[in-house]
Subunit: 307 residues, 2 copies
């Protein structure tokens, strides 16, 4: 692992495949809470996705310790043979991204992803794929490529040359499946919920807006049914909010939905966003081009020395 | 002055009556820059207003020192007998608000306003009015009430019982006029510029939206001509952004302007806003009701201990 400066802070957003049973969710999250110096900032469970997204922050070595412990617990407590959910997944601890925070570089996140991936494979016997900036090939930068066909297809195909893991055995862990570990820039995870149960509408909209089918740049989108809430959802990652902002996404989806006679019920921002996203939002939604982060009071409060 | 804790930080937003001559503006602002420990965060000069708004931040005693020095320089360098501008004013250093920042209470801001007001009167011979939370009567909480008729009327009326200053002589300073000092909660100072030179349109809109004429609650609004920019402006203070947000204001003005066949060119946020304003904006503009300040990365980065 890279040498850390005294105040290096990293973010990690582990996603595991349980979003329904509170005692299982808490048992996995508590592994992170137990690591002193790591903050568990957000825990978002979705019963339809059957998935929980946790946001951790802290010094790199401690965050690594926390996600390792969570992965061990997920492997013990989740059986992928009996897992069903609307969100694509290949394992109990499905994805572990590392994101640069304070005084940390992308290179440090890449190194951390590799060392944590190696350790998951060697200590838990789980095959590990590297993605994002840590990927071992251009295709594997893309999470959707690694997860194609999900757990069920990967089980059959993991021995194929193009599906061999970066670390660990060429066979899925019998209950925990596989895990994807990587490094990425901060992204905005955003869901837009539509007032219909017609999944077709969400699918058409997701296809319309995602970059891979010619939609908005730097947008990944997928349709999911929120059966328990009686809605459908366009679930997205905005991989560069400076290129396509949350407001542009919402406006585009609202227009498309209206064309289908469907209304937008609400949107959700999942996990953390850099303050810059909000500053951009002020510029865009208030037509206040000159607005800057320097005008946010809190930006300055933290910088004042004690006197 | 109240006892200060080690990290007490206060904000002050002195407004002085010069927005055209850069050397005068810089001479006044440099008095604040000279005080070590005070941050000059923003300097916004408007030639049409003929006024400059400065945002200072720092420990209360040092911020008080900085605004005193600026007031002395403004009194030396600005002659109110020859001042003209679109914005109401009664003095060279026109208004000095103190705003609670970090570990400071409104009570401390009120005490600071009173002590600074007393000092301006005694050392510079300038009559001082207290306003906002520091006001000596309910009417004087309102800046517009104190400034009614502006410099020119006050010159004649200052001896009347209802216009006597809180500190200093019952006569205007020969060049510096009078100064208003007070304490207030954070407000959002916002301008919306319209694509017309017809001041009538801005006047009608200002009247329509301000609370005092039955418009939006917690909104103060005024029309000014931006002659140099060939536009008119609705200039506002949103005294409680939780009651009426910047986005609601912009939407209302946009509607009203469209009814007059006029477009909104841009808006301006003047000086600092609490991060809460941006969090509210995300909730409102993205229909993301559940969004919270805890989801802003920077909120957490500053809280981590060094390890």
């Amino acid at each position: 692992m890279a040498e850390e400066s005294a105040t290096a802070i990293i973010e990690s957003v582990p996603n595991f495949s349980e979003g329904r049973r509170p005692h299982i969710i808490e048992a996995i999250v508590s592994e992170a809470r137990r690591v002193r110096g790591v903050g568990v900032l957000d825990v978002l469970s979705d019963p339809d996705h059957n998935r929980t997204v946790v946001t951790l922050i802290g010094p790199p070595a401690l965050v690594a310790e926390a996600v390792m412990a969570m992965t061990g617990a997920a492997a013990r407590l989740i059986d992928m043979e009996n897992h069903h959910g609307a969100h694509p997944r290949i394992g109990a601890m499905d994805v572990i991204p590392f994101v640069p925070g304070l005084n940390t570089t992308m290179e440090q996140c890449v190194e951390l992803a590799r060392s944590v991936g190696r350790e998951i494979a060697s200590t838990l016997g789980i095959p590990v794929y590297l993605y994002g900036e840590a990927a071992s090939s251009p295709e594997r930068r893309n999470l959707a490529y690694i997860r194609r066909g999900e757990y069920e297809a990967l089980k059959e195909e993991i021995g194929r040359p193009d599906r061999l893991p970066d670390f660990g055995p060429p066979v899925l862990h019998p209950s925990a499946g596989a895990t994807v570990v990587g490094a990425r820039a901060p992204l905005v995870a955003m869901n837009v919920n539509l007032g219909t149960t017609d999944l077709f509408v969400a699918r058409v909209i997701a296809r319309k807006i995602r970059e891979s089918s010619g939609g908005l740049p730097a947008v990944m989108a997928k349709a999911v049914a929120l059966v328990e809430r009686g809605m459908v959802q366009v679930t997205m990652n905005l991989t560069d909010y400076r290129v396509t902002s949350p407001l542009t996404v919402l406006k585009t989806i609202t227009q498309e939905a209206e064309a289908h006679g469907v209304s937008v019920v609400e949107s959700e921002i999942v996990g953390l966003v850099p303050m810059d996203v909000l500053v951009d939002l002020a510029r865009q939604s208030l037509a206040a081009k000159g607005f800057s982060a320097a005008q946010v009071l809190e930006t300055h409060l933290k910088e004042r020395p004690r006197e």
